[in-house]
Amino acid sequence: MLAFTISLLGVLTYRSHLISSLLCLEGIILSLFIISTLTTLNIHFSLANIIPIALLVFAAREAAVGLALLISLSNTYGLDHIHNLNLLQC
């Protein structure tokens, strides 16, 4: 819904920190969880309750991978600013 679009805009725009984009990714996943849960509860389709839980499983895993990348970035550069990602400068 509306919250998903706002978080999507938050992921697509950069500021100085990488972790704030990961936070907006978490917001996308939260909004998807709420949408799927409300849809399943409203039409009383009990079997589709699996979908939000499975979504949480994979979302936790990708958040952890994103954080690990951020930690590796922070280990080599000290902070996680976006302008540190400049190895491919032309």
Partner: protein
């Protein structure tokens, strides 16, 4: 009583605007926790007790704690909040104004059709079943994960194991 869900949905969007305007990560995590709590109350109002509890435990308790520790490791000394600087406060204010405008528009006329149609109260009324139920619907449905969804459990478990290995390999560096 129907207006409770409407108010909670407005609060949810405002919380999302709060961390999408990108203050420093600590305050963004705070706004995400607030949004998670409001979303959990929305789910509880729909009658999904088990799924709300799952969200509280796993999402807020697990992932937000991990995010908090990682943000404490990777940020600088003077975090910028919503009040400092012009960009963050401006984004937050623009988002809030748009949300307030949308709410007033929905309350005036009964329907808003932009891309998705937002009706006034019709979306937020739950279709109730008849009578009392002995078995809670959503916890039984989630329990079917281990019966009909055996293969999904195996795939998810293997994915988590591979994910742990990936994280270890990434943080090993070199």
């Amino acid at each position: 009583m129907t207006y409770v869900l409407f108010t909670l949905s407005v609060l949810l969007v405002m919380g999302f605007v709060g961390f999408s305007s990108k203050p420093s990560p600590i305050y963004g995590g705070l706004a995400l926790i607030v949004s998670g709590v409001v979303g959990c109350m929305i789910i509880l109002n729909y009658g999904g007790a088990y799924l709300g509890l799952v969200m509280f435990l796993i999402y807020l308790g697990g992932m937000m704690v991990v995010f908090g520790y990682t943000a404490a490791m990777a940020i600088e000394e003077y975090p910028e909040t919503w009040g400092s600087g012009f960009e963050v406060f401006g984004c937050f204010l623009v988002g809030l104004m748009m949300e307030v405008g949308l709410v007033l528009w929905v309350l005036e006329f009964d329907e808003v059709v932009v891309v998705v149609s937002l009706n006034d109260m019709g979306n937020w009324v739950v279709f109730e079943g008849e009578g009392l139920e002995l078995v809670r619907g959503d916890s039984i449905g989630a329990g079917a994960l281990y019966d009909y969804g055996r293969w999904l459990v195996v795939v998810a478990g293997w994915t988590l194991f591979v994910g742990v290995y990936i994280v270890i390999e990434i943080t090993r560096g070199n």
